[in-house]
């Protein structure tokens, strides 16, 4: 069994941080070959903690062009092996190459396929003349890693994402895929099996896109991708679609700007394409292929979707909560019956041999000759060589170091988690709890507490069910200010205020208890504090303190009223009568002008729960001339 996973990680560092370590991230995908796209690593700041994991060999390509602010693009292939040397595992490649045009430095000797050479300059229909420089530019963005696993050649691809009207990038993308296609055809002609995995940034058909318009499939790249597929006369099987021809709503990528996860409003652009013959000994081509005979399954790993499926938190205009994780979902393919390879070693282009990771071991000869040079030239040369030395011995125990760093980091997060659960929250909850009791005069019931909590999140309680899982949210000012004016009378204010008193003062008298409770379960704490408050009540006739707390409560109530007001003055959207979120015009003649839109996540227009497209300008206009 060989399991291959493709995953656009949207930044490898954040994903590593999310899982605690690279090793845990890779293990959670549980695959023999893991292909990451958009690693957003640059060669300058590569470090062991994002590249080296015990039990995996890495092959990486980083963006070398100046495009994009900071780290951009980048792909990495991780191979799970028991031994990096003399291994028979299929997962360990026999050769690897960065880029696809055979022009990158590491590929000078054309390891993967000895004699793939592009004649430069060359002509390609639709593209005109292509120069070597142009090709190198396409190949320089860290979008491809090729690994030769003996039985098959694996392309890990991050396809360019482009705006339809950016001519330069359209040409770029076209060139990218045309050259790739040339290389695939070359390999296939040699009788190799070719696997293409990655984020191609192309959804082949309407069924792969949530809001496909009628002309969707006409677009040039979608036509090209389909032409690569067996159904349209091409060499490849789209492993997922071929296994699940009818499945709709199967998406791998969701626009983070509109909260597309919430209503499964995405597209399927992460693919595993596979082509070539099977391992069976038979000559009839019909019904025999690597896909038919060896692909056991291909699925989208939906449990990797952001915000744990099932209780995805409400999007609320993207302000309230930052969803953790990538905006893509991994896809896996399971192959069976792949035979082992003869024993082979990790190819020299593996990340373990990168100077950034490993450091440079200098030969003693070069050291000695440098010494001589130094004597001739004085100081500076000596310093350099010393630095180099340090570098190389540092990197020796790099792996160990990165592990201890990891432990340290988790230690810190755990610690800070503890710190992050301060009592004020629960105190407030208690307080509101008591306010509730005071004003309604009813006994404390769980129901009251529930009602109160829903009002906390600041949206109508009906629509609010999913909402409670946001770890922390900016309270709508409303939450502060429940039922300000509905107090029946003065007497009630007093009772309200006094019941409010008990909580803070009882907390004072019982600081130890408070401490004891805080790390524990919320409900327990609530119970203890409730009883404490009840017990404390008679003892607490300390007039001066209750006076000042009384004053404080008045202020609190007043603030609650103010914040309620503030919230109420936000425009409501027409679809759900919920407060809108503000946006401002980013370009054009109205630049800087404020407007309000529906706060909900984008979804299919048939779903009334999704964004209602409400739009309104903030109500400000120039004063007209007054006569």
């Amino acid at each position: 069994m060989v399991k291959i996973v493709t995953y656009n990680v949207n930044g490898l560092r954040p994903r590593v941080a999310q899982h605690g370590s690279l090793r845990r991230l890779l293990d959670s995908l549980d695959a023999d070959i893991i292909c990451f796209q958009e690693t957003k690593l640059s060669r300058q700041d590569l470090s062991g903690d994002v590249i080296m994991a015990e039990g995996y060999e890495a092959f990486i390509s980083c963006n070398r062009s100046s495009r994009g602010r900071g780290p951009y693009s980048g792909v990495a292939t991780f191979c799970r092996v028991t031994s990096a040397f003399a291994s028979q595992e299929v997962a360990l490649p026999v050769a690897a190459e960065e880029g696809f045009a055979g022009l990158q430095g590491s590929a000078k000797d054309n390891e993967v396929i000895g004699d793939f050479v592009l004649d430069m300059p060359m002509d390609e229909e639709d593209l005109g003349e292509i120069t070597r420089e142009e090709l190198l530019r396409v190949d320089n963005e860290g979008r491809c890693i090729i690994t030769d696993h003996g039985h098959f050649v694996l392309f890990n691809i991050y396809g360019p994402s482009i705006g339809e009207d950016d001519e330069e990038r359209v040409r770029f993308k076209l060139l990218f895929y045309k050259i790739l296609q040339k290389r695939w055809e070359f390999l296939l002609a040699l009788g190799k099996r070719v696997f293409v995995v990655g984020d191609l940034n192309i959804a082949p058909s309407s069924i792969d896109r949530c809001d496909a318009s009628p002309g969707f499939e006409k677009q040039m790249f979608r036509e090209w991708l389909r032409s690569m597929l067996r159904e349209h006369g091409g060499p490849f099987f789209d492993a997922f679609r071929s296994k699940h021809p009818e499945r709709t709503g199967a998406y791998t990528c969701f626009n983070q700007k509109v909260g597309a996860e919430e209503y499964n409003y995405g597209s399927r652009i992460d693919h595993i394409l596979i082509s070539g013959a099977c391992f069976h000994d038979c000559n009839s081509v019909e019904d025999h292929s690597i896909f038919h005979c060896h692909v056991e399954d291909c699925e989208i790993m939906n449990h990797f979707r952001r915000g744990d499926s099932g209780n995805i938190s409400k999007w609320k205009g993207g302000r309230s909560s930052k969803l953790e994780g990538s905006d893509h979902i991994p896809v896996y393919m399971l192959l069976n019956g792949i035979p082992e390879l003869p024993a082979h070693n990790t190819p020299p282009s593996a990340a373990r041999y990168l100077p950034e990771i490993r450091g440079r071991q200098q030969s003693i000869v070069s050291f000695l000759s440098k010494r001589k040079l130094c004597e001739a030239e004085d100081g500076p040369g000596l310093n350099i060589s010393r630095d180099r030395e340090n570098q190389s011995c540092c990197s020796d125990d790099l792996e160990r170091r990165s592990i201890s760093k990891e432990e340290l980091a988790t230690g810190i997060t755990e610690f800070s988690k503890g710190v992050n659960q301060p009592s004020p929250t629960s105190k407030r909850r208690n307080l509101d709890h008591w306010i509730n009791e005071g004003s309604s005069g009813s006994s404390v019931t769980l129901l009251a507490a529930q009602g109160m909590k829903t009002s906390f999140s600041g949206v109508k309680s009906v629509s609010n069910k999913k909402n409670k899982h946001n770890l922390s949210s900016q309270p709508t000012i409303k939450s502060f200010f429940r039922r300000p004016e509905t107090k029946p009378g003065d007497a009630n204010i007093n009772s309200l205020a006094s019941s409010v008193d008990t909580v803070p003062s009882s907390v004072d008298t019982l600081p130890k208890m408070d401490e004891l409770c805080s790390p524990q379960d919320d409900s327990l704490q609530e119970n203890i504090q409730c009883t404490a408050a009840a017990d404390g009540d008679p003892d607490n006739s300390n007039i001066s303190s209750s006076l000042s707390t009384y004053k404080c409560n008045i202020a609190t109530l007043e603030w609650q009223r103010i914040q309620q007001r503030m919230k109420m003055t936000l425009p409501l959207c027409k679809g759900h009568r919920e407060p809108c979120i503000p946006r401002s015009v980013k370009k054009g003649s109205n630049i800087g002008r404020l407007f309000y839109v529906c706060a909900r996540a984008q979804g299919p227009s048939s779903n009334p729960e999704a964004n209602c497209n409400h739009f309104q300008w903030a109500s400000v206009k120039s004063k007209g001339k007054r006569q």
């Binding site: 800070s416 929250t425 409670k468 946001n470 404080c552 603030w559």
Partner: protein, 263 residues
């Protein structure tokens, strides 16, 4: 008729730079007591209150209460045309749809008039209650600004905790965590560099750094910032404007929503 002459015109310039990113449009209210503003940010989460008392102006004439709606971005553009030493005079006629800013150079050899259109802005004045706070921290405004900026490169929120030992600012993000502790320090030579903590009881609250960072734009107005915290109230971040007034920012704490209802 309204005529307000402010000798230290740079104060008004700094005020506008402090609030223009938080609030797009706002009404300036002029009365016998002073020139003031109260406005919410566009998402109605934070509140700004500005007061410039009439005594602070060299000349203050306000015949009747007047409310002038202005786009703060445009107003800031105009005020940027004033030199730092210029005297600024704000003039408006009753019922006029424009306001005039007059800039005089210190030696009176240059006088500039800028007239700006007013806007109609619906806004409602909120009575902000006086309250007592559980903890009040006074610290150098540059220090606070630096802390907010540094923390926002790590996380989205800051937890401000005040204890007897000092005030702690902490955050957590994808790449790690950060904690900055400032201890009480009254013994410095210059009072503007001191950090003073008045605490009735320990308090710990969470705030969105996005807002805190935009509050710190007011740092040029004052060497010291005052942060007032109470567990039931919005935080107040106050910058004094010389002897003549203040700018206060109010922000409700973020609440950790409970996990308990999941069950």
């Amino acid at each position: 008729m309204l005529e307000l002459r402010l000798v230290q015109g740079s104060l008004l310039k700094k005020v506008l730079e402090a609030i223009k990113d938080l609030v797009t449009d706002a009404n300036f209210d002029c009365s016998g007591t002073g020139f003031s503003l109260q406005a919410m940010d566009s998402s109605h989460v934070a509140l700004v209150a500005l007061l410039l008392r009439s005594e602070g102006f060299e000349h203050y004439r306000c015949d009747r209460n007047l409310s002038m709606g202005m786009n703060l971005g445009n107003m800031a553009k105009m005020l940027r045309c004033a030199g730092n030493d210029d005297i600024i005079t704000i003039k408006a006629d009753d019922g006029s749809d424009t306001v005039t800013f007059m800039f005089e150079s210190p030696n009176q050899d240059k006088i500039a008039d800028f007239e700006m259109k007013l806007m109609d802005i619906d806004s409602e004045h909120l009575g902000i209650p006086d309250s007592e706070y559980q903890a009040i921290v006074r610290m150098p405004s540059s220090e606070f600004s630096r802390i907010c900026k540094d923390l926002s490169s790590i996380g989205d929120t800051v937890i401000i905790s005040v204890t007897k030992e000092g005030v702690k600012f902490s955050t957590a993000g994808d790449i790690g965590t950060a904690n900055i502790v400032c201890r009480q320090n009254k013994t410095v030579d210059k009072p503007e560099e001191s950090t003073i903590i008045e605490m009735q009881e320990p308090v710990s609250l969470t705030f969105a750094l996005r807002y805190m960072n935009s509050f710190t734009k007011a740092s040029p107005l004052s060497d010291q910032v005052t942060i007032s915290l109470s567990s039931e109230l919005p935080v107040v971040v106050e910058y004094k404007i010389g002897e003549m007034g203040y700018i206060r920012f109010y922000l409700a704490p973020k609440i950790e929503e409970d996990e308990e209802m999941k069950a």
